[in-house]
C-alpha cells in the first residue's frame, strides 16, 4: 500500500514540530526516518499512525493507497504500530498479546476462536517464538518482547507497518540480528513499512530509501547509497558519518592553515573542506600537492578497518582516518608517530549548507 503525505504540519503550542511536509512512499517500500532527537521524525510517524493529529489545514492530506485517511481514527486506519518499549500487555500471555487485535474485532467479523488460535500460532512461528506462547512478557528478553510486539502488530494484516525506534532499547548484537530479520520479513511479506531511528547505520542498512530530517524539515530523501555518496547539504553530510574538517585560506591555488599546505584550485579566501575518514590516506613523507603533518594519537582496529586518530597544531578538532589493515601494513602506525595525511577527495558546502559541487578529485601531480 503506497502512502502519500501532502502539506502535513504540526505545532505543539507555540513551537513548530513539523514544517509543511510532502512525502511519497511507494508500495512495498521500507522507509527509514532518520534524524537527531527533536527533528520531528517521531511526530511524523505518529501522525501517519493517527496517534497524533496534524494541524488542521484544508490541503493537509494523508492517503494510504487510494484511501484518504486524514480524518480516520487510529483504530480504523489498518496500521500496525511497534513501540520503542514494546508496550506489551503485561498481564496477558504472549499468545493473548498476539491474539488481542483479533479478539477485540466486532463479533460479526471476528474469526472463530479456533481460527484465532491457528493464526496466532502461525504468527508466533513466523517470529520463532511458538515455544514461548504461554509465557508472560516479563519472562522474555528484550529482543523476544520486540518480536512479540511485531507479531501482534502484524496479526490484523495491516496495510502499513510503522515502527518507532524499534531496536533502540536493545543491545548491539540483538539489534543487528533483529535488523536483518526484519529486512527479511519485509521482503517476504511485502508490506509497506516506515521506521524511525536516530542511528544512521541502522537507517542505511535497513532502508530502501532514507528520509533525513532535522528541525521539522525533510533534508533529503534518497537511497542509502546515493545519500552517502552525494549528500544534498552539510547537515546530511555531517549526520551520516564521521567528518574531518580542514579550514584554511586559499591563495593562488594553495590552501594554507598553519604549517599545513594543500594544492587546491579554489576561489581566493577562506575555505572549508570536508572529508570522510576513508577519503584520506597516510604516508611517511609529504607529497608535492599536500603537506599536512599530523601526529598519531590512537590506533583502533574496527573490524576489517584500522581507525587512526590524528592531531596537529593546525587542527582545531582531531581527524579520523580509516584504512584497510593491509593498506597500512607497511606504514604500521604507532601512537606518537609523525605522518603526513593526503586527501583523496573533498566536499564543499556554501554558507547556507548547500552542496557546492560534486566531490573533487585531487589532481595527481606525481
Amino acid at each position: 500500500m503506497s502512502i502519500r503525505i501532502e502539506n502535513i504540519q504540526k505545532h505543539f503550542g507555540r513551537s513548530r514540530a513539523l514544517s509543511p511536509i510532502d512525502l511519497d512512499i511507494r508500495d512495498g517500500e521500507l522507509i527509514g526516518l532518520l534524524g537527531p532527537s527533536g527533528s520531528g521524525k517521531t511526530t511524523l510517524l505518529r501522525i501517519l499512525a493517527g496517534l497524533e493529529n496534524a494541524d488542521p489545514h484544508p490541503s493537509a492530506r494523508i492517503h494510504f493507497g487510494e484511501r484518504d485517511v486524514t480524518r480516520v481514527h487510529v483504530r480504523d486506519r489498518r496500521i500496525g504500530f511497534v513501540f520503542q518499549h514494546y508496550a506489551l500487555f503485561r498481564h496477558m500471555t504472549v499468545a493473548d498479546n498476539v491474539a488481542f487485535g483479533l479478539t477485540v474485532m466486532p463479533r460479526k467479523s471476528r474469526p472463530s476462536s479456533a481460527e484465532i488460535r491457528s493464526r496466532v500460532y502461525q504468527l508466533l512461528e513466523m517470529v520463532q517464538l511458538a515455544h514461548l506462547a504461554d509465557r508472560y512478557p516479563a519472562q522474555l528478553s528484550g529482543g523476544q518482547q520486540q518480536r512479540v510486539a511485531l507479531a501482534r502488530a502484524l496479526a490484523l494484516r495491516p496495510d502499513v507497518l510503522l515502527l518507532d525506534e524499534p531496536f533502540g532499547a536493545l543491545d548491539a548484537k540483538v539489534r543487528q540480528e533483529l535488523r536483518r530479520w526484519l529486512r527479511h520479513l519485509h521482503d517476504e511479506l511485502n508490506f509497506t513499512s516506515v521506521f524511525v531511528t536516530h542511528d544512521q547505520e541502522e537507517a542505511l542498512e535497513l532502508s530502501d530509501r532514507v528520509v533525513v530530517m532535522s528541525e521539522g524539515r525533510i533534508e533529503q530523501i534518497d537511497t542509502p547509497e546515493a545519500l552517502y555518496r552525494a549528500p544534498a547539504n552539510r547537515f546530511v553530510f555531517e549526520f551520516l558519518g564521521d567528518v574531518n574538517t580542514l579550514e584554511g585560506d586559499v591563495r593562488n591555488g594553495v590552501l594554507t592553515c598553519g604549517d599545513a599546505r594543500l594544492n587546491a584550485e579554489l576561489p581566493q579566501g577562506p575555505q572549508t573542506l570536508l572529508m570522510r575518514p576513508h577519503e584520506l590516506t597516510l604516508g611517511h613523507a609529504p607529497t608535492s600537492d599536500a603537506h599536512l603533518p599530523v601526529t598519531v594519537t590512537a590506533v583502533v582496529p574496527v573490524g576489517a578497518d584500522l581507525r587512526v586518530e590524528l592531531s596537529a597544531d593546525w587542527l582545531p578538532a582531531p581527524w579520523l582516518v580509516s584504512a584497510r589493515h593491509s593498506d597500512v601494513a607497511e606504514l604500521s602506525p604507532q601512537r606518537g608517530q609523525r605522518l603526513y595525511a593526503r586527501p583523496l577527495q573533498w566536499h564543499r558546502f556554501d554558507a547556507d549548507g548547500q552542496r557546492l559541487d560534486a566531490p573533487e578529485e585531487l589532481r595527481l601531480s606525481a
Binding site: 499512525a49 496517534l51 487510529v74 483504530r75 480504523d76 496500521i79 500496525g80 504500530f81 513501540f83 518499549h85 508496550a87 506489551l88 500487555f89 503485561r90 498481564h91 488481542f100 487485535g101 477485540v104 474485532m105 509465557r135 508472560y136 512478557p137 516479563a138 519472562q139 501482534r152 502488530a153 496479526a155 490484523l156
Partner: protein
C-alpha cells in the same frame, strides 16, 4: 585482638548500607509502643470476660443492628468511592486542565480535616433546614439521620484511599499501552476493560478495602449526621463509646475486638490476593 573476636566479626554478614541495627531497633520500638501496646491492652481487657459473657456482649441485638448499619453503610461508601475514586484518579493522571494541582491537593483534605468538622458540616448541610436537605426534601430523599447520611459521611472521609492508591499505578502505566490497544482496533471501552483495568485491579481493590476498613471504624464524621437511633442508625463505634461512658471497659473492648478482627482479616485477605496478582504480572509463576 583475640582470634575469637575476629571470627565473631567476620561471622556477621557484611552490610553496605549503614545504620541497619539502629534504624530497625527504633522502628520496632515505635511500632511496639504506638501500635502493639494498645492492642495488647485491648486483648488484656478481654481476659476479664468469660467466653459466654463475651459472646453475650457482642451478640446483643442492639449491637448486632449496629453491625448491619455499619457494614451496609461502609460497603455502600466503599463502592461509591471505588467508582468515583477511579474516575478522579483517571482525570488527575491522564488529562491536563487548569486547576488540576488544586484538585489534586483537595484529595488530601479528608485526611487533614478533623473528622468532627466534616461531620458537623455535613449534618448542617443535609439537615431539613440545610441547603442540600431543603433541595432534596421535595424528592422525598432524607440524608441526615438516615443510613444514607452515614454512608455519605463515610464516603467523605475515605475517598483519598482509593484515589491515592490508584493514582501512582495509573501514572506508571505508559500511555503507549492504551495506544497499542487502539492501533489494534480496540474500542475505548474494550481497551479500558481489557488492558487498563487489569493493571489497576490490585490497587483498586486495596484502595476500596482500605476505604471500607476505615469506614468501619469512623466515628467523628458519622456521629453528627447519623441521628443515632437505636436499632436504626447507630454505628458500631458509637456502641463502643456508649459502653465506655458506662465505664464498661471490658464490654467496649469486646465490641472493639470484633471491629479489629474484621479489619485485620480483610486487610490480610487483600494483601494475600494482591501478592498473587503481582507475582503473575512480573512473570514469577514458572
Amino acid at each position: 585482638m583475640s582470634p575469637s573476636t575476629l571470627s565473631f566479626i567476620s561471622a556477621r554478614p557484611m552490610r553496605v548500607l549503614p545504620g541497619f541495627g539502629l534504624s530497625l531497633g527504633i522502628s520496632l520500638t515505635f511500632v511496639s509502643l504506638v501500635l502493639l501496646l494498645p492492642l495488647t491492652g485491648l486483648v488484656g481487657q478481654l481476659s476479664k470476660l468469660s467466653l459466654a459473657e463475651y459472646w453475650h456482649v457482642i451478640t446483643e441485638p442492639r449491637v448486632v443492628a449496629s453491625y448491619v448499619t455499619t457494614i451496609g453503610a461502609a460497603a455502600a461508601a466503599a463502592l461509591i468511592n471505588a467508582a468515583f475514586g477511579l474516575l478522579l484518579a483517571w482525570v488527575l493522571v491522564r488529562y491536563e486542565f487548569p486547576g488540576k494541582r488544586l484538585l489534586d491537593a483537595l484529595m488530601d483534605l479528608p485526611f487533614a480535616l478533623p473528622t468532627a468538622v466534616a461531620g458537623i458540616t455535613l449534618a448542617t448541610l443535609y439537615s431539613s433546614s440545610g441547603w442540600m436537605g431543603k433541595a432534596l426534601a421535595p424528592f422525598g430523599i432524607e440524608v441526615s439521620y438516615t443510613w444514607v447520611g452515614i454512608a455519605l459521611a463515610m464516603a467523605f472521609t475515605s475517598i483519598p484511599f482509593v484515589v491515592r492508591t490508584v493514582q501512582p499505578i495509573l501514572e506508571d502505566l505508559p500511555a503507549e499501552v492504551d495506544e497499542a490497544a487502539m492501533t489494534l482496533g480496540a474500542r475505548d471501552g474494550v481497551a479500558f476493560r481489557r488492558v487498563i483495568l487489569p493493571h489497576l485491579w490490585p490497587a483498586l481493590v486495596t484502595g476500596t478495602g482500605l476505604a471500607f476498613v476505615r469506614s468501619l471504624g469512623e466515628f467523628g464524621a458519622v456521629i453528627f449526621i447519623a441521628g443515632n437511633m437505636p436499632f436504626e442508625t447507630e454505628i458500631t463505634s458509637l456502641m463502643i463509646f456508649v459502653k465506655l461512658q458506662e465505664y464498661d471497659y471490658a464490654g467496649a473492648s469486646a465490641i472493639a475486638s470484633v471491629v479489629l478482627a474484621t479489619s485485620l482479616g480483610l486487610l490480610l485477605a487483600i494483601n494475600l490476593w494482591q501478592g498473587r496478582f503481582i507475582r503473575r504480572l512480573h512473570g514469577g509463576n514458572s
